[in-house]
């Protein structure tokens, strides 16, 4: 008697990517279910547009589908890979359409958008725990450090552009960014270790 294959929800991220590389559409669906809420949030945060965020997430997973065979787990975790691909594409769009007002409140985000907590996969639980932990640590950052970090990561601004926008000296911007990243790398070391 052959035991049934474990459900995809129990597979590791990397195992799913390997399955995607083999042409498994269900594995891609599982990865989508696992990370699309996070990536949609990132897309909306950067683009301040629900439809564009959905397009960017779509592009990200199509990119994964095409490039799964060349994915290298030694370079980055699957979640970080997806996050940074989504961020890169979203910032490209943002720069293209020259959006000035990037605040969520001005584009009227759908209030019905909520965290998808369906399913009981281990990864989803880990993601929930990871989110809570990161939010807590980000909340502990001084406002001035969180500000430059947000402008750099979510708005795609260079250090010089941040200095120009905020009126803060360039050296101070760099120092604040450095301090923020140093602290996060320290306090999130457990979460980072889980990704390695």
């Amino acid at each position: 008697m052959v035991s049934p294959a474990p459900p995809l929800a129990s597979w590791s991220d990397y195992a799913l990517v390997q399955a995607v590389a083999a042409g498994d559409g269900d594995a891609l669906g599982e990865l989508y279910d696992r990370f699309s809420p996070l990536l949609l949030a990132l897309g909306r945060r950067i683009l301040a547009d629900a439809e564009e965020a959905e397009d960017v997430v779509q592009e990200t997973f199509v990119h994964l589908w095409r490039r799964a065979t060349s994915y290298d787990p030694q370079k980055s975790s699957v979640s970080t890979f997806l996050v940074l691909v989504t961020r890169s594409r979203a910032i490209d769009r943002l720069r293209t359409r020259q959006v000035i007002d990037r605040t969520l409140g001005q584009v009227g985000l759908e209030p019905s958008a909520t965290l998808d907590t369906s399913g009981d996969g281990v990864s989803r639980v880990l993601n929930l725990e990871r989110r809570e932990r990161v939010r807590q640590e980000l909340a502990t950052l001084p406002d001035e450090q969180r500000q430059v970090l947000d402008l750099a990561f979510f708005d795609g601004l260079t250090q010089r552009e941040i200095a120009e926008r905020t009126g803060i000296p360039l050296g101070t911007v760099k120092t604040r960014t450095l301090l923020a990243m140093r602290k996060l790398r320290t306090v999130l070391r457990l979460e980072i270790r889980e990704l390695l």
Partner: protein
């Protein structure tokens, strides 16, 4: 690597492109690669601070439909083992090498034959050109030799002429030379009033010289002849040279001395006898001893 080496700005710029995501630089330093990996993962975690957003079910279906239309990743980028690739390349390379070797031999053979043919053609063409040049050279040499002979003959003639003129000049400039001018007479006085001649008699040199000027050229078949008038009748002295010289020079050998009353030039048929039959053209009356 220290914490001061951490450069999030450079890292963010590095991660702007997808390619840099796939291959962040490790720079050959394992410690640096580890640090970069930590930085990348730290950046990746920032997104986890956002409130997740549930996707629309239609979006998931759209994604799966799109990738189904694209085809499997393996079809896009077939995964083959390195050994297989190397094997294929080795076999293909061997066949290719044999093919290239044969092709190279054929090419070299064709090139060699072509080169030989071209060399033969060039040598033949060069030989033909050389033979043609030699023929032209021979023709040129013959022409130059002929021209040289002509020039030598002409030079000889001119040298003779120059010697004669020098002799005449020496004669007419000799001390004690007697001169007898000749004027137009008869019809010539009307037809050639400007014509004249001079007889130079040089007893010391035992020679004389006649020079006529502004005479019309003698008609065809006729010649101007010089005569000395004596008590015994005219004595033929000789024919004037044709135009433009119109002169006659005499040297002592074989000419007898005589008493001359005058000298005349007549127009006579060429090759006529020793008696004048034609009209007198120029005449000079002077008594002098002709050598």
């Amino acid at each position: 690597m220290t914490e001061e080496d951490f450069d999030p700005t450079g890292l963010l710029a590095l991660l702007d492109g997808e390619e840099s995501l796939a291959s962040p630089p490790a720079m050959g330093d394992p410690e640096l690669a580890t640090q970069r990996r930590l930085e990348v993962e730290t950046l990746g975690l920032l997104a986890f601070g956002l409130e997740p957003v549930a996707p629309r079910p239609a979006a998931r279906a759209r994604l799966l439909a799109e990738v189904a239309s694209i085809g499997a990743p393996a079809e896009l980028a077939p995964v083959v083992s390195l050994a297989a690739v190397r094997g294929e390349r080795t076999g293909a390379a061997a066949g290719l090498a044999r093919g290239w070797g044969l092709a190279a031999a054929v090419v070299l053979g064709v090139v060699g034959l072509g080169g030989a043919a071209w060399s033969f053609y060039e040598r033949s063409r060069f030989a033909e050109e050389l033979a043609q040049m030699r023929r032209e050279q021979e023709v040129l040499i013959a022409t130059l030799q002929e021209r040289d002979q002509q020039l030598a003959a002409e030079r000889e003639v001119r040298q003779g002429e120059l010697g004669r003129r020098n002799q005449a000049l020496q004669l007419v400039s000799t001390r004690g030379v007697e001169v007898c001018p000749l004027r137009p007479v008869g019809a010539a006085a009307t037809l050639q009033p400007e014509a004249f001649a001079v007889l130079y008699m040089a007893p010391a040199q035992k020679s004389w010289y006649v020079k006529a000027s502004q005479l019309d050229p003698a008609p065809a078949g006729r010649a101007y002849r010089v005569w000395f008038e004596t008590d015994n009748g005219p004595v033929f002295a000789g024919d004037l040279r044709p135009a433009p010289d119109f002169d006659l020079q005499f040297e002592a050998a074989g000419f007898r001395s005589l008493a001359m009353k005058g000298v005349k030039i007549t127009l006579e048929p060429a090759g006529s006898g020793l008696e004048p039959t034609g009209p007198s053209v120029l005449f000079g009356a002077d008594k002098m001893t002709v050598l």
